[in-house]
Amino acid sequence: MAVFDTPQAAFGALRPACVQLTRAQTVENVRRLQAHLGAVSGAALQELQEYVLFPLRFGLRVPGPKQERLVQSLVQCISSVLAATCVRKRELLRELFSELCTCLAPPAGSGTPAPLSEELKLAVIQALHTLLHSAYGDVILALYQPAALPLLGFAVSLLLGLAEQERAKQIKISALECLQVLVLQCDCQEHRHLDEDEAQQCGDLFASFLPGISIALSRVITGDIKQGHKTTISAIRLFYLLIGLVMADAQLAKIPKSKEKLPVEQSRISELMVHRGPDWSKSTAEKLSLLLHKVVESSSIHPHWKVRLELVELVHHLMRNCSQSLVDSFSHLLKALVGLVNDENSQVQNRCHEVLRGIAEQRLVAHNRALADVLSENLHSLSTALPRLMNSQDDTGKVSTLSLLLGYLKLLGPKINMVLTSVSHLQRLSRALVQVLELDVTDVKIVEERRWGPPGSLQHRGRPHRKYFRFFTEEKVFQLLQQVCRVLGYYGNLYLLVDHFMGLYRESGLYRKQAAMVLNELLTGAAGLGVDVLQEREVPPSVDDLRGSITSILDEYTDQANWYLVTGTDAEGASPEPSEPRLGLAARVGAPSSSVLLPSPEPPGTTRAMNSNIWQICIQLEGIGCFATVLGREFRLLLLSALYPVLEKAGDRTLLVSETALATLADVCEACGYDSVQRLINENSDYLVNGISLNLRQLAHQPHASQVLDTMLRHSDASLLPLVEDVIQDVLSALDQSYNNQASTFLRVLHSVMTALVQWFGMPSAEEHQQRWTDRGQSGARSQGQHEVTVTKQEVERFFLDYVSQKQIAEGDLPDTGEEEADEVPSLAQAEPNNCDTDGEAALPSHAQLARDVMERCLHLLSDGSLRVRLKVLDVLELCVTVLHPHGNHLLPMAHRVWPALVTRLISDDPLAVLRAFKVLCTLAQTCGDFLRQRFSKDVLPKLTSSLLSQAPASARAGPVYSHTLAFKLQLAVLQGLGSLCERLDMGESDLNKVADACLIYLSARQPVKLQEAAQSVFLHLLQVDPDSTWLFLSEVWCPERHEPPHGSLRPVRLRGMGRPRNELTHNVLLLLHRLRLQEGTAPGTTSQQASPC
């Protein structure tokens, strides 16, 4: 079809259709006209606009009932004309507007909308929409004259009716959109921008509709969810746009005091007009507040996120435009906004954050006292309800409640202080926090988990223990609470807050842990660490302020009553024997440092009370870590008072406490700028040493002082020794004064001192020393075993000669000495340098000196009444011996003094003690070989062998459980150690025979395998010491082969073990003989026959 560009051509084309339509109003004719319209260009149609519209309008105006389909097609046709043209005449606009509205008008007299088809309604709405968009320039304002008010009102009520009562979504949405255009708030950009006066005028006009529109809309918004989210969104948008326009602060400010008088002819209309004076705005705001509350309530929990997003926009718009007029509604609005901060949808979240930040940046709250009042009122009521809510709500509910609280605080920003200075506000808030943060202290594991042994064996290292709260389990809730406290600390008056929470801390044991937690977070927040805020505070607190607060909190934390709490039933030394835990407990409860001094919520001594105490200590420790982070390097000044308590707790027996203390130590270390904990300790050792030496003077604090020393030693290296030497001497002298009651405490320290010394100094020198001993052993005259292996005939001859000469010397027949000396000199020369630099009296290094001092104390304690103490002493003793290894001149006298007590332990003590004592003996033997030989063979060996012999039948009979018994362990230890003992002590032949006799039964196949192996090891050692006699001994037991003499003149060898039947010993004996042969096989030119004695 051709396009008609010129009006003439178009006219020619359209005229017949128009004429026909004028004559007969049928759907057919309208269709024809519409078909022609499609071929006419916009410009041409503009010229013919009124001409074309005439038959259409005429069709609508014809009186009498009309066919709905006709009306619909007419309206659609008008709409298409209008879409292509614009309305330039005010009259035309007004007429068209009213004509279109009439189409939907209900029959006269009835209040209900006309029962029209949905298509028609939609068509009319769309036509209206198009009409409003086609109005050219100022023309649109024709509708917004006071005179047009009735018409406008009619349209508004029509559209509202549709929006509210129609069922079809499409109509609802269109009606709402149309209404939005009608109130000049269209979303599209084509509209002319109204200047201020015009806007003001429109505002006046719309004020009349405000009640109707807002009520109807609120009904739509809170209506059935099934109406679809789009309807709700449009309604919300219209709602806030209209309110924002009518209630705009800028407009209300310009309203004159009295109502303007309109010309007389418009007096009726002027009755309809509303004067937006202060009274009106106040009452309207009140009513709106109710509506807003309803709207916010329903849409903030709307399942569709776009609705919630729109709600955010609503708050944003109203907050921006009506911050004064609608101040009463803000509590609802802010609540909604703040609540949506943690929406599940990220878009809503982000927008919410943006809006909040916008509000904060505009300092709306800071500059608007009313708003701040609203917020603080909200805060107050929320914190009143908080404990109840925390009790009743589930975790999700708690999260939303707390995010609300957090949001209020963030919005208040620097205005928080206004709230905090009110006593009731602060009290409610703090009570709420303290109640919510109540810990769950029923876990028994916390109390039971103990730190055993060195830190290396810790299994749970590095994983901070989670706190369990009574009222919530989700981590998110705790994070929110943390943020709440930090925000408080960030904006709030630090002194005020610290004072208040310190008051709570002191007030009752019930609040103590929570108050401490809050304090820690407050300080963190005050320093601006880990806090997420909407606006910067004006003046951050000075370092001096922070330090002042921290110092006072630290003092309180580390106060005796709050620091030394009962954390376990077996606190060191309290219960000497495991069989008497009740007694130990009773003793602890009565101890001066226990929590009986405090109003504790639990009876002291129960698991709950101890769990609670443990947590309190941990929280306080965490606090110290926080404070260090807050102050950074400035914390160094506080190390004087803080480091000692932390180290004390690092040595605590409760696993959780010591782990937390170590974490704190790491925090402090980092904050103060030390590379490692070790450096932290070394560089501040003067503080620690001072504390230790002072506390050692008070009996009650001795255990703590020793813990500190213990921790220092564990975490440092040899460079610490010169710094703590002094104080170790103090410990020793303190021990001297209280052997009876504090021995086990001090032994722990001595043990750690010695462990440290062994670790720092012991190892290399011990190896070196061992080397020396082997050297000496090899060059010594008595140790022939090694030499014998490589004997040649000449050497046998020389041995014989030597033997003769030795014998002569022994008989007092001294030969010429010259030769002797020549032999001895090299070995002496070798030994001397060692002797000189390590064994000289003056040159004894400090660590060895210490070891000697410690060993001296051990002498006294070896025969202590308590088994536990004796065991510990034996351990310490062993370490002392290890450290003193290289200093034989000092070790030997000490060994001499230790010997009697040690023998008693070996011979007549609890098997446990025997076991340890035997270990000490083995260690001692490594050093003082020949020194011990005589004593050993005289005092100990008979007892050992007899006990081995007497135990053997028992172990041979025993079942698999036997390997868990103490007797078995003792047997095993003795068998394992005996061999090397014999070798090191260089035992004489008769002793060796005794050992061999005692061990022989353990070669029996009936013995437990481990014992067999141990017994084998004894024989292997014996093979080293004296292969010949051992060979003989074994061969006497069982001899697998015949030994032919090499020459006929020699008598045949007859051994008792020959030709015997296999027995229980056979297997192991064979094995040993095989090993012996292998050993000799490595030495060239030797045979067993040659070595065997004749």
């Binding site: 000044l637 004087l640 003067d686 503080y687 001072n690 003077r697």
Partner: protein, 275 residues
């Protein structure tokens, strides 16, 4: 730093404003250590004596070293019988106080410089090796009064210029209290018997209520100054206590007592009682 012997004299001073609390300690290796009581660490070590023994240290009376030129530092030359008075800060020698020929006073052991009132002439009390206490007029350079109050060398003395009463200690078992009458004559008031012999340091607290002694028995004793009533025995050190000194903090609770001992330690005590 090799320290053969430390802590012979301790002086608590408040003189350096930024440090607010300070303490000086001298040692036989010739270093003067300034300890900060806040950090418990050495702030500075002054080496002005060529690493030779420092025998005594005196801080300036005023709060600021530079503004108090009227106070003099009194050095004692070891093994000489003279006392030299120097003026600070010019460090010029004002006079040399030398006992008359024939007077066998021996070496001056301890000194106390004081003024009766502001503007009056400074007087010097010196305790000598032979057990006598001598009052010198610094301006005239002559002996005003002499009192033999001990059989052994006077180890230390302190003087209360308000009551015109002084106290001195020696290696004997007594403390000797003497007073100065209007004619500027020294006379023995009374003696106080001690439990253990040997006093190496005496200090009267600036408020003149109590005094502390440093004993050879490793203990510090506190007495009331008025009647010499024993108040406390402070037991900490493990060797002879050399000297004691009170700090001059303005507020009473902050006042501290420091004592130096041969055991290489300085103990700092708070002896204030809240009554």
């Amino acid at each position: 730093m090799e320290t053969r012997e430390v802590a012979i004299t301790i002086k608590c001073g408040n003189f350096h404003p930024p440090l607010s609390k300070c303490q000086e300690r001298r040692s036989e290796n010739g270093l003067i250590h300034v300890w900060n009581l806040k950090t418990h660490r050495v702030d500075t070590a002054l080496d002005g004596h060529g690493r030779r023994s420092v025998y005594c240290v005196e801080t300036m009376g005023g709060r600021d070293r530079l503004l108090s030129p009227t106070v003099a530092l009194v050095p004692v030359h070891l093994f000489s019988v003279k006392v030299q008075v120097l003026e600070l800060p010019s460090k010029t020698s004002v006079c040399t106080l030398k006992p008359e020929m024939g007077a066998k006073l021996g070496m001056p052991m301890c000194l106390k410089l004081w003024q009766l009132s502001c503007g009056s002439q400074p007087l010097l009390l010196a305790g000598y090796e032979d057990g006598s206490v001598v009052l010198w007029s610094v301006t005239m350079g002559k002996v005003l009064s002499q009192l033999v109050c001990h059989q052994e060398p006077v180890m230390s003395l302190d003087f209360d210029s308000e009551k015109a009463k002084g106290i001195s200690g020696s290696s004997e078992k007594v403390l000797c209290i003497w007073s100065l009458n209007e004619q500027q004559n020294l006379q023995v008031d009374k003696t106080h018997e001690l439990v253990n012999a040997g006093i190496s340091g005496i200090a009267i607290r600036p408020d003149k209520r109590i005094l502390a002694t440093a004993g050879w028995d490793h203990r510090i004793r506190i007495f009331g100054w008025k009647k010499l009533k024993p108040l406390a025995v402070l037991d900490y050190h493990t060797a002879t206590v050399h000297c004691v000194s009170f700090s001059d903090h303005r507020s009473a609770p902050e006042r501290l007592l420091a004592a130096g001992s041969r055991d290489h330690r300085i103990s700092v005590w708070s002896v204030y009682t809240q009554t």
